[in-house]
Symmetry: C2
Subunit: 520 residues, 2 copies
């Protein structure tokens, strides 16, 4: 993270956008409308904006109740970020925990989340996750999702409570849910369809949406939401409810920077290009309370040699961080606990990255030895190796030569770390190196596998305010906006200042399901 | 700060409000209107919502340009929080600094603010303060504000750059500015007039406001903004501009808790009762981008024996903290650097306050000796003594007896602190006790003066987004909302995560003045 915020150059760029590109006439000034002024093109019971975990949990649950449901997705493919996420799913109080003799409770889960969230989490929402995550998990099983038969002890959780999909990706949940949804009666999926605004009745209830079909998202624009004028406007009636499940804003170059000016338009993100704030901002204009939008989380496991979540992230999450180390290539030394919380690791990594100045980035090298791969799913490293961003070395000398690391120092660092693994205690950075975490694996059996690491913008904790029924609250009345629901990353408050790993899926699926239950 | 957030009881209370009081039919569903549907009652060039520093700087500047200006104030008295604030005003690059040989710069000022603000400040706004604060200061002099002839070195600033009003209060600026405003041609002040919403033209420009006259603010309601239906609706045309200068939301029981659930409806604030989020939320519904609303600052100098800013705060700011110490009454020991930044002190104090549980609050005792008073303005202690919340003791034994502090421990603590003052070094907590700060005053010359201290919610850093011209930016277009301006605590970004002391006046006056300049 750059300490000094934006450079002058960044500002000039941003101002230039303000003055030229965005100042085009005829921007998308799509105001909310009254139903009296609308001729409906189509009609559904429930209109869901988005197609990730939250949208699918709501869609499947709602369609099973006999509702006519449509999913509205602006991108050309379904699944949002959910389909590229790591597929680790925290389920507190699960049957699997009981079978494994692990004692968990809603209170323990809430306390873990509150600790990570710096105490500003909305407790009543967290409590719903503790109570209902098991039901959301069952919903995914009913749809055909498959998980490996072992609980993961994800960082910051007091007990093992996280499941891992069989294919090591969120697609292991998303794809069977899409399949299930599409096979249910009365369901429709609209891709390349952009949500523009709401249609209200005279009493302020949401009765439909304005969308554009045949929309081509353009990630090269400073703001697709503001600048993209493409597509054909349609009016879709929602007889029972509109649900917002449009995700977070990690890729919104304008809104994320208003919250944290250190995040420049160039800053990379693990998210898919469509993760912008458009639907969220429209909800604010409709009266939704904004909640904690300035808490933005980096994922420290990104790979510097590709953009986005890519194919390299899972190598660090499941390989180099738990079973290996991360070193500063300039010194050959470790500089952090590779399993610290996301915020701590991100700060440590940015310090290394920027130590030579902003224009000569010094990316840390994350690596592990051959035995680590036996504890990973093939999906966690094969594609990264194929892409050439994860590299294989027969010797430490070869690895050091590739990344220009002082080899004598690097060997000292490895020897010291290996001692820590033997002792079960990291005396330098406090990484948990007990056998339960490292399986006794140190860095000694070639070949060695390495990536250049970097944090990337990963999750936006803030969003719009919902109650425990997934209803969106209106700041004008402090009451629900009639017929408007939301779930997942577009909402705020559940995670407070920092989300614990593996609770995103929990949040999205549980409140998606709850929204459909409330709608009825 | 309660670590565990809201108690179940709090929630039940809040839900009860949701279910009953707020669910009354006929709430203030005052929607924004189109000018075609409005019959104007009155007409001005510039309509300013609020009557504190930002409103007055804009009002005076605008009226001097020949505009017909109205100030709209919902309360029965003018001045908002500004009139009860401490009157310490940071002016970087000032003539007074030059005269005193103090080297300052916009960069130095920005770096101080960025350090406090954790780097998320909007640098371009900070830069305007560095460049224009001196002009805002001159504006106050022209209005007749008077300052003592000595710069204050406020906490977190690299150099002395803060002025203090002669009367030790923000009223030393506010009252002469009100007087100046009222004497200017074409000016109007409307008290007890509540801003409800905007009137737009067909192009989305703000052309007026909807207000209620004869409004009686009711601080006993959970939300005056939502529940109070009183007053007579009027439509006021704004030929040139509407400016929002309605302040922060430290007293908004609903919105502040959405941002930080540890702030319960019962949590006290230094702010006047009218500091609610109503105007801010209306701006969000009109399309203003929300910026960083979850950063809420406590003032650690509050007195536990009165509500609000009261008459006791300035005793701690100017007396017990710089010249004395704060002790835990249970142990008789110090527990913090009494001049640390606001956030650090707040956390330390809440730890002491809640150490016996939430129902038996253990308020710290802040005290100093008689010599401290010679370095304070009479306004800093006289009223607190009269009110009996600041107490005078002839001996340390009497002080210890009053607050049930173990006297032997307390005397040891004092002796140790006095040694630190002699050495010029606080070896326990790192308080700056050099003679430049303490004037060599320790705790030895009776009588002694003491208050029970507590942090109170003091400033909301977040708000709506403005550019350097004080124009409000629309999230639908990423462009200014035509004719809409804002300045002061209702805006966000200037202070980032934490505002430095004495920069509030700078922010409000400078951007208030700039708004009027942009309006022309």
């Amino acid at each position: 993270m750059k300490k000094q915020g934006l450079s002058r150059r960044d500002f000039v760029k941003f101002s230039a956008v303000g003055a030229s590109a965005l100042a085009l006439s005829g921007m998308n000034l799509v105001a909310a409308m009254n139903e009296k002024d609308v001729k409906w093109d189509e009609e559904f019971d429930v209109v869901i904006i988005g197609s990730g975990f939250a949208a699918l949990a709501a869609g499947v649950t709602s369609a099973k109740k006999g509702n006519k449901v449509v999913l509205i997705e602006k991108m050309g493919r379904l699944g949002g970020n959910s389909v590229i996420n790591g597929g680790i799913f925290a389920v507190p109080n699960s049957d699997i925990q009981k079978k494994a003799g692990i004692k968990d409770s809603t209170e323990l889960f809430m306390n873990d989340c509150l600790k990570a969230g710096r105490g500003i989490n909305h407790r009543e929402l967290l409590e719903m996750l503790g109570k209902r995550a098991q039901d959301a998990y069952k919903l995914t099983l009913d749809c055909g999702a498959k998980y490996i038969d072992q609980l993961t002890h994800a960082g910051g959780h007091s007990v093992p409570r996280s499941l891992q999909t069989e294919n090591g990706s969120g697609s292991g949940i998303v794809l069977p849910m899409i399949d299930t949804f599409e096979k249910l009666d009365g369901t429709t999926v609209k891709k390349r369809t952009k949500f523009d605004n709401f249609v209200f009745d005279d009493k302020g209830a949401v009765v439909g949406v304005i969308v554009r079909e045949n929309y081509k998202f353009d990630g090269n624009l400073m703001s697709d939401d503001v600048e993209n004028k493409g597509g054909d406007t349609k009016y879709i009636k929602a007889k029972k409810a509109v649900m917002l499940a449009a995700g977070g804003f990690c890729r919104d170059k304008i809104f994320r920077r208003l919250q944290d000016p250190r995040i420049t338009p160039e800053t990379d993100s693990t998210n898919h290009p469509g993760a912008t704030a458009g639907a969220l901002l429209t909800a604010f204009r409709a009266g939704a309370y904004p909640v904690q939008p300035s808490w933005i989380q980096y994922g420290p496991w990104g790979c510097a040699d590709e953009t986005g979540f890519g194919v390299g992230s899972m190598f660090n999450v499941n390989g180099s961080f738990p079973f290996g180390i991360s070193v500063n290539p300039r010194t050959g030394k470790r500089y952090m606990n590779e399993l610290a919380d996301r915020r701590t690791r991100t700060e440590a990594m940015f310090k290394v990255i920027h130590e030579k100045g902003d224009d000569d980035k010094n990316f840390p090298i994350n690596f592990c030895d051959s035995r680590a791969l036996k504890h990973m799913l093939p999906g966690h490293y094969e594609k990264a190796l194929e892409a050439g961003i994860c590299k294989k070395f027969d010797t430490i000398d070869a690895l050091a030569a590739e990344y220009k690391i002082p080899v004598a120092e690097l060997k000292k660092t490895i020897a010291r770390y290996n001692e820590f693994v033997k002792k079960g205690k990291d005396e330098d950075f406090g990484k948990p190196v007990a056998a339960t975490t490292t399986k006794g694996i140190d860095i000694s059996v070639p070949p060695f596998y390495a990536e250049r690491g970097t944090p990337k913008v990963h999750h936006t904790m803030g969003g719009l305010n919902i109650n425990t029924k997934a209803q969106v609250i209106n700041s004008l009345t402090a009451q629900p906006i009639p017929n408007l629901y939301a779930a997942g990353e577009i909402t705020g408050g559940v995670h407070g200042a920092s989300r614990l790993g593996s609770v995103a899926i929990t949040d999205c699926l549980t409140f998606g399901m709850i929204a459909a239950e409330t709608i009825g």
